[in-house]
């Protein structure tokens, strides 16, 4: 085996926007070419830094939404009303623009096929992003790890990656996608129509005896209450990983 590479201090890299994909009215994916990208593990994120002409800087973290099997790095950004960074990334950025980023980082909220399952993924809004990287790797690797995704969105048109999730759920590899809508529902909606709560989790979760791995990502209140519910249902706290969004200021 050749010499072992030592990790280096992390540096800021300059990525180039290759493509922009409008996922929903408020959400856009940025497909980036990152020189010397070392690859990533699903669940990791990058820190993005913007610099204005007068030197003013703003920095935010975004989960990597793409599978490590792809060549590009995809970030999916929700444009927040009062945001400082997200309106720039989700609306102003153009193909060909450059973006400074640092990563991939994060070693705690990660899943690789070797970690197995069964998997319970719980997402609130754009909390689906890191979980989508996990699902995309699972799909690319042809994995049949039993997986359930419980995904809360405001309305059907706000569901990010909807078609792709439908396709993955229909491919017979044991992925089940459960949507719940919290504000408006379409006519004849037969699905869930409320915020994620203990009863919903109880129905969606694997039995604790199956020793599932759970990943919960989204706004802090959703993450905290879902994690608490799972613990009450008897799940091992060390097998529940959370990624809270917090008030990053958009």
């Amino acid at each position: 085996m050749a010499g072992t590479a030592l990790q280096r201090r992390l540096i800021w890299r300059t990525a180039e926007v290759q493509d922009l994909v409008d996922e929903t009215p408020r959400v856009r994916s940025l497909v980036l070419e990152v020189p010397d990208w070392p690859g990533h593990v699903p669940g990791q994120h990058v820190d993005v830094r913007l610099t204005a002409e007068d030197g003013y800087q703003a920095q935010r973290s975004y989960s990597i939404a793409s599978s490590p099997t792809g060549e590009r790095v995809t970030l999916t950004v929700e444009r927040l009303e009062d945001g400082e960074v997200s309106p720039y990334l989700a609306a102003e950025l153009r193909v060909g623009d450059r973006l400074e980023l640092r990563g991939p980082v994060g070693g705690y909220f990660v899943w690789d096929v070797s970690l197995g399952g069964p998997l319970l993924l719980v997402a609130g809004g754009s909390g689906i992003c890191p979980l989508m990287a996990m699902l995309r790797l699972r799909h690319a690797a042809g994995s049949a790890v039993p997986t359930r995704l419980l995904y809360s969105s405001r309305s059907l048109e706000d569901v990010i990656y909807r078609d792709e999730l439908d396709r993955m759920a229909a491919d017979g590899t044991g992925l089940e996608v459960i949507h719940t809508l919290t504000r408006s529902v379409p006519q004849a909606w037969a699905g869930l129509h409320r915020r994620i709560d203990a009863a919903m989790l109880s129905a969606a979760a694997w039995p604790p005896a199956d020793q599932p791995l759970s990943f919960i990502c989204g706004p802090t209140p959703l993450v905290e209450s879902a994690a608490e519910s799972l613990v009450h249902l008897g799940h091992e706290p060390t097998r529940i990983k959370t990624e809270r969004f917090g008030p990053t200021g958009g």
Binding site: L50, T51, A52, A58, E84, Y88, R98, L99
Partner: protein, 201 residues
């Protein structure tokens, strides 16, 4: 010139040619909530404020006793070391001069201490002369917990990390000693007009 993000402006951060805005600061309209830890939940029944340390006699007030003291409403500009400033904020509180009345001390410095363990150090002199308050109301309303309620120290002429949230007392000391952020590199004094953000500035 380093990397620049095309067309990125960021939050409005013009430095107005305004004598009220210290160097390197930008104005905000919201009131950012920042914290180094969980929000304490001390009840008013448990709450007390004390002046202790290098004093002849320690003093202590319950919430009722503090509220029975004369208070005043003041409007001041505030400046955070992380560069945001907010002009004309209105507070109601008891002047620290009132609390120090009759306190006999040879000490020159103070460590303000708070629920949750936060501390910050200041010269005793900067807490006197009508420049500091124990504030219990902001903008005409009781001070919200996330902004330091029931009461916080208010010392607007210094960077706002010195205006300790959830303050419970002042410990008078002979020599200056670093509080929480000062221990981690922030300036011992913190004058926004001299941009004293970090030690060595």
């Amino acid at each position: 010139m380093g990397f620049v993000s095309r067309a990125f402006k960021g939050r409005p951060h013009d430095q107005p040619r305004d004598a009220r805005v210290p160097p390197g600061q930008y104005l905000v309209r919201d009131f950012p909530v920042l914290s180094a830890g969980p929000t304490p939940r001390t009840s008013l029944a448990e709450w007390s404020f004390s002046i202790e340390g290098e004093v002849d006699e320690e003093k202590r007030w319950t919430w009722e006793e503090l509220r029975a003291l004369p208070s005043e409403t003041v409007t001041r500009d505030i400046h955070c070391v992380t560069k945001w400033s907010k002009l004309a904020t209105t507070w109601e509180g008891v002047s620290v001069d009132t609390l120090l009345e009759g306190v006999d001390t040879a000490a020159d410095y103070v460590m303000a201490f708070c629920d949750g363990g936060y501390t910050t150090n200041l010269p005793l002199d900067d807490l006197t002369g009508g420049r500091a308050w124990i504030a219990f109301a902001f903008d005409g309303q009781p001070l919200e917990r996330q902004h330091g309620g029931p009461a916080r120290l208010l010392v607007p002429h210094l960077y706002f990390w010195k205006s300790a949230k959830w303050v419970r007392g002042l410990r008078l000391m002979q020599d200056d000693s670093p509080g929480f952020w000062e221990t981690y590199g922030y300036h011992m004094y913190g004058d926004p007009w001299q941009e004293q953000r970090y030690s060595g500035d």
